[in-house]
């Protein structure tokens, strides 16, 4: 196993961050202990305390991993083939003289799908940089009204930072097709086919339209990379796309796309979460054999006070 929590010879900045983190942890623990002693109804009685504990643990440990990376600690990362395929897709499209299509979904960003839109934007930023690097024509379609400005700027940034400002043309590069699911889908499928796209990159929260985009891409023989964390649509992407991000891989892809070691380190928090989950399941099964129910503890709500 290659986990190490040692932060020997921490730099002053890291020390400050660790101190701040320690203060937050001590504060939280104190609040909980004092709350229990004084019999205050500290937590929402409808939410199990375990969910708060899990959230807080993951946030804190994830940040520890990030501090570690700031101090220069490196670690191996498993290849995510769909991520590597993005560059291949962009390069191929340029060779064939066909545009690259990216879409991040539809809907309003102030819903619980926000993290998936953000992951999609991360991938879009990556594609925009690659489009600048290879001189690809990029068409970004979307149905998220709040994100229009961001997408325009990301595409612009991709071309400008690669020294190809002449390729940036907002009316061609960025197309918003309403936040209405199937109006968006009808316009996107038409765009994919009419523009004869060479690579079709679909990452974000998708609903029934997932398969529409995949089949439209197939009509033009596009190289397809797709990903979503919405369970019901994953099968369509995995079965029909050339490369697929399965579930949480889209969040990891966003981290990889940033090219920032510190951001990448945060996904170790995801891994630790999975290990904790595995441990809890195994422990729960063992305890069950002994007649103890871990589930009851996990479902415990704050009944103090």
């Amino acid at each position: 196993m290659n986990i190490s929590f040692e932060v020997i010879k921490a730099s002053p900045q890291a020390k400050n961050k660790l101190l701040a983190l320690a203060i937050i942890v001590i504060l939280l623990v104190t609040v909980i202990v004092v709350g229990a002693l004084l019999k205050v109804k500290l937590f929402n009685p409808k939410v199990p305390v375990s969910s708060f504990v899990i959230l807080a643990t993951l946030l804190i440990v994830g940040y520890l991993f990030m501090i570690q990376a700031m101090e220069g600690v490196t670690f191996p990362v498993r290849k995510i083939s769909a991520f590597d395929a993005i560059e291949e897709g962009v390069a191929r499209s340029v060779e064939m003289g066909r545009p690259v299509h990216v879409t991040i979904g539809y809907g309003t960003i102030s819903s619980s799908m926000a993290p998936q839109y953000v992951a999609g934007l991360g991938v879009l930023a990556h594609v925009a940089r690659l489009a600048g690097k290879y001189g690809a024509k990029l068409i970004a379609t979307l149905g998220v009204p709040e994100a229009i400005a961001s997408v325009e700027e990301l595409v612009r940034d991709g071309y400008y930072s690669a020294g190809r400002p002449e390729l940036y043309n907002p009316t061609y590069n960025v197309r918003y097709f309403t936040d209405q699911q199937f109006a968006y889908a009808s316009a996107v499928q038409a765009t994919i086919v009419r523009e004869n796209v060479g690579a079709n990159i679909v990452v974000g929260p998708f609903y029934a339209e997932s398969l529409i985009f995949m089949e439209a891409g197939n009509m033009t023989g596009a190289f397809q990379i797709a990903g979503t964390a919405r369970e019901t649509q994953i099968p369509f992407f995995v079965i029909t796309a050339d490369y697929a991000f399965i579930g949480e891989e889209i969040f990891a892809a966003g981290a990889l796309a940033s090219g920032d070691r510190v951001v990448l380190a945060s996904i170790r928090g995801q891994d630790l979460g999975k290990l904790i989950t595995i441990a809890l399941v195994v422990l729960g099964i063992i305890l069950l054999g002994l007649g103890l129910k871990l589930s009851d503890w996990l479902n415990w709500v704050w009944t103090v006070g």
């Binding site: 993290p115 009204p145 940034d157 109006a183 995949m214 079965i239 966003g254 979460g273």
Partner: protein, 227 residues
């Protein structure tokens, strides 16, 4: 720099932390009541802001098609006219309905019950929407034809499972072998549930870690341009 990048990110962290506190903590009945009122206020803010974003988006679509009208040539311009007229008509009748709800409340007409608006919704929006949804029946058929090709052992497993489920779903399967229906039910309840459970857990962890990056200002793509 501060007002361009730091302040927006600070607001993001602040709102996230506030909303988490509102949800997880209770303290006592009065505080909890304040929490839920403030929480409601923040969600209302989001509704108001996204309403404006929708209007900006509508303006963008209008601008896009105006440009197409000028530069698109005969192949695109007539269609852009269709979009422009349709959008404008819909907004005019919607706004008329809204105005009526203030000017003449006795009529009981609001945006969605304005007759012309309703006509457009019922005879243009609704059929197009349903047609786009049901177009999937064609796509799922051609996708099945292409995708269930036995190239390796995993694909064989995929194919066998798919055919069992298809036969179990129809009355035809039961004619061939009565066991298809129970087998299909078993697949849907046991392996299918198990297969999606790690994905659900992983997606949840991914959301939390992305939230962490938002909180510590390491997720910046939503702000667009790097300055």
């Amino acid at each position: 720099m501060v007002v361009r990048r730091v302040l927006p990110q600070f607001i993001v962290s602040l709102v996230i932390i506030l909303m988490l506190i509102f949800y997880f903590f209770y303290i006592n009945d009065d505080v909890a009541k304040t929490f839920s009122a403030d929480d409601k206020a923040l969600s209302d803010w989001a509704v108001i802001i996204s309403s404006f974003a929708l209007i900006v988006g509508g303006v963008d679509i209008f601008r896009f098609h105006l440009t197409q009208l000028r530069r698109g040539g005969l192949k695109q311009a007539p269609f852009s006219v269709v979009t422009l007229i349709a959008e404008l008509t819909m907004v005019v009748f919607g706004a008329y309905g809204l105005a009526l709800s203030y000017l003449n409340p006795a009529l009981g007409i609001t945006i969605t019950t304005q007759p012309q608006f309703r006509w457009l919704y019922t005879y243009v929006y609704a059929p197009s929407d349903s047609a786009m949804y049901s177009i999937l029946v064609f796509y799922i058929a051609s996708a099945s034809y292409r995708a269930f090709r036995v190239r390796n052992p995993m694909a064989l497993l995929l194919l066998i499972v798919a055919i069992i489920v298809m036969l179990g779903n129809t009355s035809l399967g039961a004619l061939i072998w009565p066991g298809f229906l129970p087998l299909r039910d078993w697949i849907m309840t046991i392996p299918n549930t198990a297969a999606f459970r790690p994905i659900t857990i992983g997606a949840g962890l991914g959301v939390i870690i992305l939230g962490l990056r938002m909180l510590v200002w390491r997720e910046v793509s939503w702000m667009g341009r790097r300055e």
